[in-house]
Amino acid sequence: MDLISIVSIFVLACFVGYFVVWSVTPALHTPLMAVTNAISSVIIVGALIAAAASGNPVAKWLGLLGVVLASINIFGGFAVTSRMLAMYKKKER
């Protein structure tokens, strides 16, 4: 992908983000923070590439540490979000 396509995706995604986030109900703002936190750990992609690459052992170990940190966030973030969301209930009856 060239730089222009990348920038286009970024700009359009900012607009999508703007509209999607405004539509989130205020009652769910805490789960919103937890889940955005989990998905921003998609940075694990970079850590996986660094960990898998040969050539520089320091870079590899930095990558592996990055994988651990991002995984904590991914699993922890999604799990805690789902735990919170499970608590939101409508009036019984």
């Binding site: 992908m1 995706i9 970024f10 805490t30 936190n37 694990i44 040969s54 409508k90």
Partner: protein, 527 residues
């Protein structure tokens, strides 16, 4: 690792001596990263779409669980795609470019290490998520933000040390000398920004965590000339990133990193505890921008889409919080709020007459009421009073009283904090209302029950132009026939350091005790 195209110069100058080369084959790696096969691009795009739908699901509690699952699917797609396209390879044999020999030899040791790293993270993450108390959610979110920031810094450092693996460099080997690796100028800017934002996110979130967790005083710490120091540091970071495009030596890169760690720390220490909703949202936003910057480096659409989503999410939440306090973002970030106001407004308000009531009085008043609106604040979270509060509400409902909850956007220490705590205590979410939806109802309400909130109920925000909170949207609790206000003691003002006009009104009854103890006594008196 498809062989897309190679500059002829690599073919001429390629050195077959593997020890001279940092990566398997720089020319090929570059081509591979920027000319990924279509299915890989589509997979990352699909992951990005899943993330959009995950946030979209949060528009209502009914669809939120499904959204969260889509988020997990998106993450699985991104991780599996990366694992498949970046299988670690052994390099203990001489690789011949463009031949089958290049493809063979999976490095199972490294592959095992990667899976182990994921497993370690999974265990820590899942155990934390299961054990954490709902009242500690702001700290947890701050801690998670710091991990994203640190991960971004680590990825940035790894990309800087091994740029060929990320496809962000050209390398050539002049005859009879060492291989020269040149990181693309655009990639240097992206790397610099990514590492800077990541480092700020990390150190800022660590301070936010310490303040929220009570390891560090919540009151602002003000350094002399802090604005000057901050601006100078920020300027230095930007100048160094610009200089980085000319000179890729390690000192430039690591100075950017160190200065960014420092500024994250400096930016958050002057900000007080109750401004934390803005800080946490802002750091949320930063963690997104850090991911986006790394996405630019890697030309990865999933990371860019996510970064943009999370970045705008945090920015919008910060905006909502600032609006709810009638403060500008700049004034919150500049910090020091509450520290100066407290010293100014301390003197007057002592010894004004107020009415004090008991739990029995409160129980009697609420039992007689048609409608009670409960106004929770951070004090409820501190006292862990949400479960007892719901018991109280249940007893009132059994007496035929309508019970509603009114939530101010900045009640608590993070956006939506009160809603989560009430949900935890099994309060149905259709009994919980936002400020603008319920404010007009106080006038027709018999009892407003304020528990752990203070500044967000202060009528001075509407009338007193000299008040530091003037103009802030507040809950009109004073319009209710009776206001029951739980407070530990009459001393001690709210976060803004202003005395609350409400305490001395004729229709206010002060219930002076610990929030949880008081509600327990009310429950006893009701039962």
């Amino acid at each position: 690792m498809s062989h897309v195209h190679r500059d002829w110069i690599f073919a001429v100058t390629f050195s077959p001596d593997a020890s001279m080369l940092p990566g398997p084959n720089p020319g090929l790696e570059t081509a591979a990263a920027h000319g990924q096969p279509a299915w890989v691009l589509l997979a990352y795009l699909a992951a990005g779409v899943c993330f959009i739908l995950a946030l979209r699901g949060l528009s209502s509690p009914a669809t939120s669980q499904r959204g969260n699952r889509l988020g997990m699917i998106g993450m699985a797609i991104a991780v599996v795609t990366t694992l498949l396209t970046h299988l670690p390879r052994t390099s203990d044999f001489v690789e011949v470019p463009g031949t089958a020999a290049f493809r063979s030899g999976v490095d199972w040791v490294t592959a095992g290490l990667i899976l182990a790293a994921i497993a370690i993270g999974a265990i820590i993450g899942l155990v934390t998520a299961r054990r954490i108390q709902m009242t500690a959610m702001p700290q947890l979110v701050a801690a998670f933000h710091s991990l994203v920031g640190l991960a971004a810094v680590l990825v940035g450092a790894a990309a800087y040390l091994n740029p060929e693996a990320f496809g962000i460099a050209t390398s050539f080997t002049p005859i009879a000398s060492q291989t020269v690796v040149n990181i693309f100028p655009v990639s240097r800017i992206e790397l610099g920004l990514g590492v800077a934002i990541g480092a700020i996110t990390f150190s800022g979130s660590v301070i936010a965590f310490l303040k929220l967790n009570g390891n560090m005083s919540g009151s602002p710490i003000l350094l002399p000339a802090r604005h000057l120091i901050n601006l100078a540091t920020l300027g230095a970071i930007l100048l160094l990133i610009a200089y980085f495009t000319q000179d890729q030596s390690p000192w430039v890169f690591f100075t950017v990193m160190a200065l960014s760690f420092a500024i994250g720390f400096l930016l958050i220490i002057p900000i007080g505890g109750a401004d934390m909703p803005v800080v946490v949202s802002m750091l949320n936003s930063y963690s997104g921008w850090a991911a986006a910057a790394m996405g630019f480096t890697l030309h990865n659409s999933a990371m860019i889409i996510t970064g943009a989503l999370v970045g705008s999410s945090g920015a919008i939440l910060s905006y909502i919080m600032c609006r709810a306090m009638n403060r500008s973002f700049i004034s919150v970030i500049a910090g020091g709020f509450g520290a100066t106001a407290a010293s100014g407004a301390g003197g007057e308000a002592i010894d004004r007459p107020y009415k004090r009531g008991s739990a029995e009085d409160a129980a009697f008043l609420m039992k007689q009421a048609d409608q009670v609106i409960i106004v929770p604040g951070y004090g409820m979270a501190v006292a862990q009073a949400q479960h007892t509060l719901r018991e109280m509400a249940d007893l009132l409902k059994a007496e035929g009283v309508r019970v509603k909850y009114a939530i101010h956007p900045v009640a608590g220490r993070m956006p939506g904090h009160m809603n989560v705590l009430l949900a935890e205590a099994n309060v149905p979410y259709d009994e919980v209302f936002e400020l603008e939806d319920i404010n007009s109802e106080f006038a027709q309400t018999d009892v407003a029950f304020v528990i752990g909130a203070n500044d967000v109920t202060n009528p001075a925000a509407k009338t007193d132009k000299s008040s530091p909170i003037y103009g802030m949207p507040v809950l009109d609790v004073e319009k209710a026939r009776t206001v029951l206000f739980i407070k530990r003691s009459m001393g001690g003002a709210g976060y803004a350091g202003v005395d609350n006009e409400l305490f001395y009104r004729d229709n206010t009854m002060m219930l002076l005790a610990d929030a949880k103890k008081m509600v327990e006594e009310v429950v006893k008196a009701l039962g």
